[in-house]
Structure formats: structure tokens, C-alpha cells
Symmetry: C2
Subunit: 122 residues, 2 copies
Amino acid sequence: MTPDPITVKPSEDVVFAFEKLMKHKISALPVEDQGKLLGIVTATDLGHNLILDNYRLGTRVEEVMVKDVATISPNETLKDAIEKMSEYGEDEGIINQLVVLEDDKIVGIISDGDIIKVLKEL
Amino acid sequence: MTPDPITVKPSEDVVFAFEKLMKHKISALPVEDQGKLLGIVTATDLGHNLILDNYRLGTRVEEVMVKDVATISPNETLKDAIEKMSEYGEDEGIINQLVVLEDDKIVGIISDGDIIKVLKEL
């Protein structure tokens, strides 16, 4: 996993969040306030809706974030992570990242790419 | 894999390519001309450089595409795919998609997410 992931505040503008994702070459931003995980926004969703002009000027992160965040704890297994990514995905898809929570604190984020990297070493 | 992936022409504007990626919620576009694979552009790279204003007005896909495309053939194994994703990645990273070529023709694209989906079923 990536420890101490970059996050965004719920009150930020979606354009700001999208720029942050692009700048740091990351695919998702956990939304947090005072250390509490409130949701997640992804580059795929924000980019899609921005391009199609689905947001109005000033749309905030909290209005569009996914609130049912897929999370995992640091002591769960690789198999758990793979299952959760499939379970939370829509239709035939998977979700591409899980927020790692320890005692309700965001300690990391794990992506499908992180899993492929580990599998390579097995 | 996703069969018959969406592609982009080398002469297209990078902004057009980025919009195409966002519109279709995909992470990479093989660059092809007359059926020949010439390169690949990713949402991560284009988005990063567009946000940081690294392109000039009218920059074309062929100027910025990655020419050394990681490819795989339809009869290779899941293990081969995982190894290639790691092999082609920079530093500690992996690349997130492989173009599937059969007799030099683009027949599909396989992503790290596709692999996670299959692993779930094993």
C-alpha cells in the first residue's frame, strides 16, 4: 500500500480535486475531515463528469463523492483485498483502490497495481 | 481483456485524446494508423502534463505517445501478463495495461483491473 495517502477536504471544488489527482498522478483521493474518512473521489469519475459538463460551477467534493468507501485493515490478506475490489465494483467491474483504515484512521491506500506488483514477487 | 479497444490516431490533438479517455472512462488509448500499433497514451500522463501546462497548443498524440508499447499475445498466460506489467513499469511501478496483439493486429487491451477480476474467480 501507499502510506499516508494524499486526501482532499469535502468542501473543496471538484476541479481542484481533479487537478490534485492529475498533478500527483493518482487515481483516487480519500475525502477526509478532521481525520475522519467521509468518502472517496476517483480520477475516472471526476474526469468523466467534468468532460461531459455534468457539474455546475463550484460543485464541491462532498456533493459527488462516493460515500460507501471500500476499506480494508492493515492485517487483512491479499486475498481479502482482491475479493473486496471485486465485491465493491459495479456490474462486471472492480474498484481499483481500497482505503486502509486502522482504528478509523486513514493509514494508506492500496491499488490494483499494488496487488499486481506483489503477485509478481510470489 | 477488452476486445476491440478504442484507439486514437497519431495526428490527433492531445486534448482530444484526453477527452476521449475521460468520456469512455478508460485509462489508456493505443495509438494506431492503418491497423498498425504505433504507441500508447495514458490518462495519467496526458492529464498530468495538461494540468501542468507542459504541452503547447496543438501538441499531437504522436509527439508524446510512449513508443515502446508493452504487448502480449492472446495465448500467453495470466502469469506472463503479470510479469510484463511489472517489467515495463518504471522504478517500483507497474504499467496498468497491455495491448493484446495477434499477427500484429490490435485485438484487445488487458488492464490490472482485468487481472484482479480473474484472480477473484480462481
